[in-house]
């Protein structure tokens, strides 16, 4: 799972972090911290679905579930389990 964590973190930094000096880690709040807004969350969800060949139902894709890379990894695990 470390690899997934890093992949997602790298993607978040590359796509959503505007301030090049801002330090973002696995537990940095993304949604409540204002790094990823609710509209952009759709593109992050699409990235995860494409990358890990999963489908995350809308009711699971809540701002709370996407708030940190750690939480996102938990969500991805839920849908990749058994694959």
């Amino acid at each position: 799972m470390e690899d997934i964590k890093q992949v997602i973190l790298d993607y978040v930094i590359e796509e959503y972090v505007e301030d090049e000096d801002e330090e973002v880690t696995f537990d940095t709040p993304l949604i409540s911290g204002g790094i990823v807004d609710s509209f952009s969350m759709v593109s992050l969800k699409r990235f995860l679905e494409n990358k890990y060949q999963i489908s995350i139902p809308d009711e699971k894709a809540s701002p709370e579930a996407f708030d940190t890379v750690d939480l996102i990894v938990e969500l991805v695990k839920e849908f990749t389990a058994g694959k």
């Binding site: 000096d21 911290g33 807004d37 609710s38 509209f39 701002p63």
Partner: protein, 569 residues
């Protein structure tokens, strides 16, 4: 007792002079919104009263009294003047919701310059077209957003100054950039207020239409007259209130009712500058004992989605009045808010162009959930027949929402686009671009837009702008953009694209296109769904039939398709 008293009594013999008198304004004399929002309150004995309670991410807090607002706006105004900013120069505010945004707005107005607030999530292309159109002379921004300005500055010859409010010295400033910090600047005790008059320009907000580039809506200092009175009568703001307007001042609600209305009344307001979560919002209300809350249907529906149990974890008993704006407030949300907060959110209707509330539900008036309410006193509103542009007298029949021009906050023109401004008037009515019907008791009921503009989360997105940006992506040969229904945001952007043959349709390309639009325009404009098609439906003259695609998304009757070039598309 509510400020408005009886709506039925107020509409008799109404005159805007009520507001002029309360503000001590005499027609023909100086009127400067910046002064009204700071110095005047201090002169009236309110210097030590809290004006702004600000909370940023991680619970970081700052508080400003009205005297602090006076001093900070003096300091910013002086700094701008020293840079060479003069009256009617456009100064863009491109900041997150931090205190400098609010204080800069007041400072810009005090020196007679025009404040041009822009939503800080805008991408470089969205920023460019708005700065270019306004020939903006200075932009006030922050480290986080300065890279977007750097990308476009070379093609903006009028942009002389890029002011960075949180410069930390870690990286060198570049061409035209200058650092300014309110924390280290020496407070300026005295600033000569520029003697603006009723028709002097004050604020330039940009809004999107179906075609063409975004339009700069020019407002004037006299707008204060209706912003003050609507804040008083519709939001029912009172001396001891703690007020929270959740709108970003990059949009008109955030300035008309997130700065001008409350501060001209000397009201304490709170600002939360962090991402959305139901818990964070309820905690903010509880902590600050918010009494009046002005929010948006999208936020209310998101709170509904988070569930009633979350509400129960907080003490929200301080709330006494709730109002909503941005898009029609569905009856379910009204009923839900009454159930969980003990008060209904009252819907208000107005636009960037109107500058202040036009049709509202008023405290003390019987509320019909789902209705827009009734016209504000002094506002003549009607629904017009789309063909004759005459008022419809028959109740329940849908027509175009229109207003008789002449209220104080009405836009004065579209910046550098007088022809489009003139096209908004027919038979001496201002056409809003929205449709509604009126019931037998005079309540207005919103039915939809009269054009293709997409209202997503209360913000207007131009399909033309998104389509133009899509064509800049190497994979896209043709595109059509329409609204798609959405449970929370009412509408979201959906794009139909024809891709160039060398590209492969699929999820990866879809994501690339989505991110391309998000960064160039804004997250709001990013298509939430992209559908690949072989061709787009067009008229015989080659115009894309958005109507057909829209009908398909909304499950509506397609209507007359006899003009389609290819009805298999």
């Amino acid at each position: 007792m509510f400020n408005i008293g009886s709506y039925d009594e107020r509409i008799k013999d109404f005159n805007w002079s009520i507001s002029e008198q309360e503000l001590g304004y005499k027609p023909g004399s100086v009127i400067n919104i910046g002064w009204y929002c700071s110095d005047r309150l201090c002169e009236m004995g309110g210097a030590d009263k809290p004006a702004l309670i600000w909370e940023g991410f991680g619970g970081k807090e700052k508080q400003y009294t009205f005297n602090d607002v006076r001093l900070a706006s003096n300091t910013i105004g002086t700094f701008l003047r020293e840079l060479g900013i003069r009256d009617e120069d456009r100064v863009c505010i491109f900041l997150d919701r931090n205190p400098e945004l609010y204080l800069s707005f007041v400072g810009i107005l005090k020196i007679g310059a025009i404040a041009q607030p822009l939503f800080s999530a805008f991408g470089d292309e969205s920023l460019h077209v708005r700065l270019e159109n306004a020939e903006t002379k200075a932009i006030i921004t922050q480290k986080k957003h300065v890279s977007k300005v750097r990308k476009i500055r070379d093609s903006l010859p009028h942009l002389e100054h890029i002011i960075v409010v949180d410069y930390d010295g870690k990286r060198p400033l570049q061409e035209r950039e200058v650092a300014f910090s309110l924390e280290t600047a020496t407070p300026v005790e005295s600033l000569e207020i520029f003697p603006t008059h009723a028709e002097s320009p004050s604020v330039l907000h940009y809004t999107s239409g179906t075609t063409g580039q975004p339009k700069g809506v020019k407002h004037v200092h006299y707008s204060l007259i209706s912003q003050y009175l609507t804040a008083k009568w519709v939001l029912d703001l009172k001396e001891d209130d703690i007020y929270w307007c959740t709108a970003d001042p990059g949009w008109v609600t955030g300035t008309s009712y997130g700065i001008i209305g409350p501060w001209s009344m000397g009201i304490t307001q709170c600002v939360l500058d962090s991402g959305f979560s139901a818990e964070a919002w309820y905690r903010f209300i509880e902590k600050n004992r918010v009494t009046v809350w002005y929010s948006a249907p999208t936020a209310i529906r998101s709170l509904m989605k988070a569930g009633d149990e979350v509400v129960a974890q907080f003490d929200l008993s301080s709330l006494r009045h709730l109002a909503s704006v941005g898009e029609p407030l569905n009856s379910e949300a009204v009923i839900w808010s009454e159930k969980v907060f003990g008060k209904a959110f009252l819907d208000t209707y107005w636009q960037t162009e109107t500058g202040s509330m036009m049709i509202s539900n008023y405290p003390g008036m019987r509320i019909k959930p789902g209705s827009m309410g009734k016209p504000f006193p002094g506002i003549t509103a009607a629904v017009l027949d789309p063909n004759t542009h005459e008022p419809i007298t028959e109740t329940g029949r849908i027509g175009l929402i229109a207003f008789k021009p002449g209220w104080p906050a009405m836009m004065r023109t579209y910046w550098n686009n007088e022809a489009t401004y003139q096209s908004k008037f027919v038979n001496d009515w201002y056409l809003s671009g929205d449709r509604a019907s009126i019931d037998p008791e005079g309540y207005f009921w919103f039915t939809g837009r009269d054009d293709d503009v997409i209202n997503t989360g209360g913000h207007l997105v131009s399909p033309f702008e998104v389509e133009s940006a899509l064509l800049e992506h190497e994979a896209v040969a043709e595109s059509a953009v329409v609204a798609k229904p959405d449970e929370v945001n009412m509408e979201v952007v959906k794009a139909f694209v024809v891709i160039n043959p060398e590209f492969e349709a699929g999820g990866d390309l879809e994501l690339k296109i989505m991110n391309f639009i998000r960064k160039r325009l804004s997250p709001l404009a990013m298509p939430q769904e992209i559908e690949y098609v072989d061709s787009l439906p067009k008229t015989r003259s080659g115009k894309i039939m958005r109507r057909l695609l829209h009908a398909q998304e909304w499950g509506e009757e397609i209507g007359d398709i006899s003009t389609l070039e290819d009805d298999d598309a």
